[in-house]
């Protein structure tokens, strides 16, 4: 489950630079936040619409924007990359708000658009089709997609082989007091709010209960990269 040596930031200096850059952006993010932007409550009625046409044939690698979160939320737009279609829905991973990957479960995409710079594979989730905006905004370049998919499968434990192409991933997360823990929590919450808010569910389901068992694997993925201190 640990990232392959070929995809780990190669040196301590590289990890240090990545982490410093990430901490810098994180500090800017926290400084810029408004205490509580005044947003009127949402009706949620506009969520009662049919799934987009893409639902019937989701294409792995296509990138979608999630519909806005109703309610008093301060989340900006969330872009997701469709990973696979499963019997229970579309599995997708969100893109990070930041420009630098934070943990080994995040990959720098090298896509030229600011909101699509880092893909959070650790935060993959089943997403109902009605939460997606109708059209995909972009698609992954065909030559780059297999490496991303292979790394996703590697993280999910489906593929023991190392990633075929060198990917730029985040530095390992080993310290319990690392500020990246708070970031991971926020990212998880951000996606959760977009998928599970009562209005987003068309009031068909009660307020959601987070199943810890389903969360833990994702957290383990996010926190992986600790082989020096976790001998088997």
């Amino acid at each position: 489950m640990n990232p392959s040596p070929s995809s780990t930031p190669s040196s301590l200096e590289a990890q240090r630079r990545l982490l410093a850059a990430w901490l810098h952006e994180r500090h800017l993010d926290i400084t810029l936040r408004d205490p509580a932007p005044p947003i009127p409550p949402a009706t949620g009625l506009r969520y009662d619409r049919p799934p987009p046409a893409t639902w019937s044939s989701p294409r792995p690698g296509s990138i979608h924007l999630l519909r806005p979160t109703p309610g008093p939320s301060s989340w900006g737009p969330v872009y997701v990359c469709l990973l696979e279609a499963t019997p229970s829905g579309i599995r997708a991973a969100p893109f990070s708000r930041y420009a630098v990957p934070a943990v080994p479960g995040e990959v720098a995409t090298e896509l030229p658009h600011a909101p699509l710079r880092v893909l959070c594979l650790w935060n993959h989730h089943l997403i109902p089709a009605h939460r997606l905006m109708p059209q995909s905004v972009a698609s992954w370049p065909a030559r780059a997609w297999p490496a991303i998919l292979a790394y996703h499968q590697h993280l999910a434990g489906k593929s023991p082989s190392p990633t075929p192409r060198k990917l730029h991933i985040g530095p390992p997360l080993i310290h319990p007091a690392d500020p990246r823990h708070d970031y991971l929590e926020e990212e998880r919450q951000r996606l959760h709010d977009h998928i599970h808010s009562p209005a987003a569910l068309n009031h068909e389901s009660p307020a959601t209960i987070i199943a810890f068992d389903s969360i833990r694997p994702a957290w383990r993925l996010a926190a992986e990269g600790r082989p020096p201190y976790n001998p088997s």
Partner: protein, 272 residues
């Protein structure tokens, strides 16, 4: 929001949505949106200003530039489907039962936060060569350094060493259990289970504000780090990091096995 909400009108926003870019809007509407954008951009810069660093001097001189940066930031390519962020903004505003202008300006403000953050990230990057002893805190006030947060090239411990680590960590965890209060332990346990400290249900269960939960969690970890450093004063940061992680794990194990948290954990964790 109140002072800027009078700057724009719904027709200006609708004009922008219909047009490809603000440059194609009528002069009146373009001026409204650019003034709003300039205000939001400058407001963000002011928040990040600090002594000795005048960020406003690096701000774009022309108010049109802020809005242009927004459009560059949110557009994914040049086609219509790459501009769905506009649809997102309008759908978000359309959902409201309150004032539409307030809602759309609120959404646009969220987008401007991203634009300003990205601008500052580029304009004020961290030093290319970063010391391992650089503080990991936002303003250099953290007890942790980058060296603490990154794995060091230490050889993995052997099985025997690992068992010794476990015994030591459990002993320290038991000592800490006597000194840490229940609220701190509950928060530590919740986080270790993957619960969000930001979750309102956790705040309700603990009868504490979210900010105090974060502060308590931080203080608890600082106490653990201090205890580790007291026990292992001559060891390098890599060992301290390893030891801290071990002690937190041992604490959580103790909380689970001894039911120190009594009947609180089970229902709370299920709920949160």
């Amino acid at each position: 929001m109140s002072d800027s909400s009078t700057i724009t009108t719904e027709t200006a926003w609708r004009d922008w949505k219909k047009s490809c870019a603000v440059g194609r809007c009528s002069d009146l509407h373009a001026a409204q949106l650019r003034t709003f954008g300039s205000y939001r951009f400058s407001s963000g810069l002011r928040k990040c200003a600090r002594p000795g660093l005048s960020l406003t001097s690096t701000a774009p001189a022309n108010p049109a530039d802020a809005w242009h940066m927004l459009e560059v930031h949110i557009y994914i390519g040049k086609t219509r489907k790459g501009k769905q962020c506009k649809d997102w903004l309008f759908e978000r505003a359309d959902q409201t039962t309150g004032d539409w202008i307030t809602a759309i300006e609120s959404g646009a403000s969220l987008l401007f936060l991203e634009v300003v953050r990205d601008y500052l990230r580029r304009e004020l990057p961290p030093a290319r060569h970063v010391s391992l002893h650089e503080s990991a805190g936002p303003s250099g006030d953290s007890a942790l350094t980058l060296e603490d947060l990154l794995p060091q090239p230490e050889p993995p411990t052997s099985d025997l060493e690992e068992r010794e680590w476990r015994v030591w960590a459990t002993a320290l965890a038991l000592r800490l259990l006597d000194t840490l209060d229940k609220k701190s332990l509950r928060i530590l346990y919740a986080r270790s289970c993957g619960a969000s400290l930001n979750d309102p249900r956790l705040a309700k269960a603990l009868r504490a504000s979210t900010s105090s939960i974060y502060a308590t969690h931080r203080t608890t970890l600082d106490l653990i780090i201090a205890a580790v450093r007291r026990d292992l004063p001559d060891d390098p940061p890599a060992i301290h990091t390893h030891a801290t992680a071990r002690v937190v794990e041992a604490l959580v194990e103790q909380l689970q096995s001894k039911k120190v948290l009594e009947n609180w954990t089970s229902p709370c964790v299920k709920e949160v």
